[in-house]
């Protein structure tokens, strides 16, 4: 049986109550909006790219504990990373959530979300900020919604 404390780990609770990098970047070079219409989660992700490297990253918005913590930890993890590193992390993170990967492989703090895979209805909460990141990196202007994104997430519902 899926365990609640596996979902709401201390680190996640901490980040949901005190999200890091929770601010607007005025001179952002890229931004994107994410929306999960099922739960009403909404966030805007701001990035400043210097060349290929993410020199600053932050977010604003409102959401559940999982999506807020995920966005917060995303910003912490990706500051200073290159575009390619970010994309690779997303893939690994996504595999972890959909049960295709294993915790601990180069994920660092992101591994606290391993418990989410036991809660299929919550996978979208954890991936919202990452889908939004992808959209910001590719410069896609349309807001990301979890309802049109990823068939794998859909299947996990």
């Amino acid at each position: 049986m899926a365990d609640l404390s596996g979902l709401y780990q201390e680190v996640i609770l901490d980040h949901s109550k005190r999200p890091r990098n929770f601010r607007v970047i005025d001179d952002a070079t890229a931004r994107a909006e994410g929306y999960n219409p099922l739960c009403g989660d909404r966030l805007t992700l701001y990035l400043r790219l210097e060349g290929d490297r993410i020199s600053d990253i932050a977010f604003k918005g409102s959401g559940c504990a999982i999506s807020t913590a995920s966005a917060s930890i995303l910003t912490e993890t990706l500051k200073g990373k290159t575009r390619a590193e970010a994309e690779k992390l997303f893939q690994t993170f996504h595999d972890l959530l959909t049960g295709h990967g294993s915790a601990g492989t180069n994920l660092g703090k992101l591994a606290v979300f391993s418990g989410v895979s036991e809660f299929p209805a919550r996978v979208k909460c954890a991936t919202l900020s990452w889908h939004t990141l992808k959209s910001a990196l590719t410069g896609d202007a349309a807001p990301v919604t979890t309802e049109s994104q990823d068939p794998e997430d859909q299947a996990a519902r």
Partner: protein, 426 residues
């Protein structure tokens, strides 16, 4: 403001305990085998009845019996099975007629559910009656299915959609509502009971005001039919619709009541078999009411299940069911209100069976997950009523929705689970 309303409501609906005890909930619960199970190791507390209600054995048996003994297509065969199926299917039409107190059985159209019924009216009324600039009045508390079909018409045909505002308790502001009705209004569409707020709208008053201008009234009764007796003649509405699956019947079928002269005036919705009298490539003559609106093979098995559901609720009786639910609603409202930081969205004077709430610092989605782990099933999200979420300034709510098989013990389980969520995340 919110506190004052709470006190007022609680003062008004303080439970009539003696009457409530007359309802034998334990006996009723035995009719619903699904309720006797454990979820995450705890006895299931099913409080998502506004999304779909559970089915009594009588309904499951009726549908099963149809497939075991009588399965055939209707209105077509000369053979015995087809006649049996047709007879049973048409018998359900008369049951719906009696349930809604319609004048005629042909005023009852079977469709897939409330959504399809609302789309049928929007589509056919839109084609036949509405011209650019004509106005349709809805309310701020409508479900998406009573918003989007009108927006489609607005965007394609240039009609004007007017939205009646509501107050902080979740009630229509009558003075504002009246002002929206006028010579350009062609139709008013309104929920009988709000799926988020539980508000019971003043349908008779609406119909009276609308009919002064000869405006027909379309009622979304999806959340009302499972809880309130409906009399379309007394309400004096022109269209009324509900879904089987919310009134303890199977999914996939619902009914639309339409006043005869309206159903006669409107064009068909879909073309196909059963809705025609004769077809040639030059000309097709449509079938009589209600078959004009029933193209193709319907969900016969589910319709027969709906018949059993109507028998079931009729035997229980809306009066005793309603009294019991009202007691439970008042009790649940009281117990939840006692939790610090919890705010109930929707405190209308006239209210049925729905308790939507938000909690300070905890997102509804997290509440839903934690409650589920306590065996308590509720719905979280915008409940297909996003504009209403904006009206109350919340991204989503948690919603406990009651049925007559719920108990005070289950309310206590809900309260304990909410407290646990608070402990964990607050």
């Amino acid at each position: 403001m919110a506190t004052a309303v709470t006190q007022e409501v609680l003062g008004r609906v303080e439970p009539p305990v003696r009457d409530a005890q007359a309802f034998d909930v334990e006996r009723v619960r035995r009719d619903f085998p699904i309720l006797q199970q454990q979820v995450h190791g705890k006895p299931l507390v099913y409080l998502d009845n506004a999304a779909t209600s559970q089915k009594p054995l009588a309904v499951i048996d009726a549908e099963r019996d149809f497939y075991l003994r009588d399965c055939a297509n209707i209105h077509r065969g000369v053979h015995e099975l087809s006649e049996r199926a047709t007879h049973q299917y048409e018998e359900v039409r008369r049951k719906v007629q009696r349930l809604l107190n319609a004048r005629e059985a042909h005023e009852i159209v079977f469709l897939r559910g409330t959504t399809e019924a609302l789309n049928l009216v929007a589509n056919t009324f839109g084609r036949k009656v509405l011209k650019p600039g004509d106005e349709v009045v809805i309310t701020a508390m409508e479900h998406h299915s009573n918003i989007v079909p009108w927006q489609i018409l607005r965007d394609e045909n240039g009609i004007v959609l007017k939205v009646a505002p509501i107050n902080d308790a979740g009630e229509l502001i009558w003075e504002e509502y009246e002002k929206l009705l006028g010579p350009r209004t062609r139709l008013v569409a309104v929920a009988h009971v709000s799926n988020v707020l539980g508000t019971i709208n003043p349908l008779k008053r609406i119909a009276q005001a609308a009919h002064v201008w000869n405006i027909p009234v379309l009622v979304d009764g999806a959340q009302a039919a499972p809880h309130l007796p409906v009399d379309v003649q007394d309400l004096d509405c022109d269209f009324y619709t509900f879904s089987s699956h919310k009134i303890f019947g199977p999914t996939g079928v619902g009914a639309l009541y339409g006043r005869t002269r309206w159903l006669e005036a409107l064009p068909p919705y879909q073309g196909g078999g059963d809705m025609i009298r004769s077809v040639s490539f030059e000309k097709t003559i449509y079938n009589a009411l209600p078959y004009k609106f029933e193209a193709g093979t319907p969900n016969i098995g589910a319709t027969i299940g709906l018949g059993a559901a109507i028998d079931y609720v009729t035997a229980l009786g809306y009066e005793s069911m309603g009294r019991y639910e009202h007691d439970l609603l008042a009790y649940g409202t009281k117990r939840l209100t006692e939790i610090p930081g919890l705010r109930i969205i929707g405190m209308a004077h006239e209210k049925a069976s729905v308790i939507s709430f938000v909690m300070e610092g905890i997102h509804p989605h997290d509440i839903g997950t934690i409650l589920d782990h306590e065996g308590v099933a509720i719905r979280t999200g915008h409940h297909c009523a996003e504009p209403l979420m904006h009206r109350f300034g919340v991204p989503a709510t948690a919603r406990a929705s009651l049925a007559f098989y719920n108990t005070r013990d289950e309310i206590e389980r809900l309260v304990a689970a909410v407290k646990k969520a608070k402990e964990l995340l607050g």
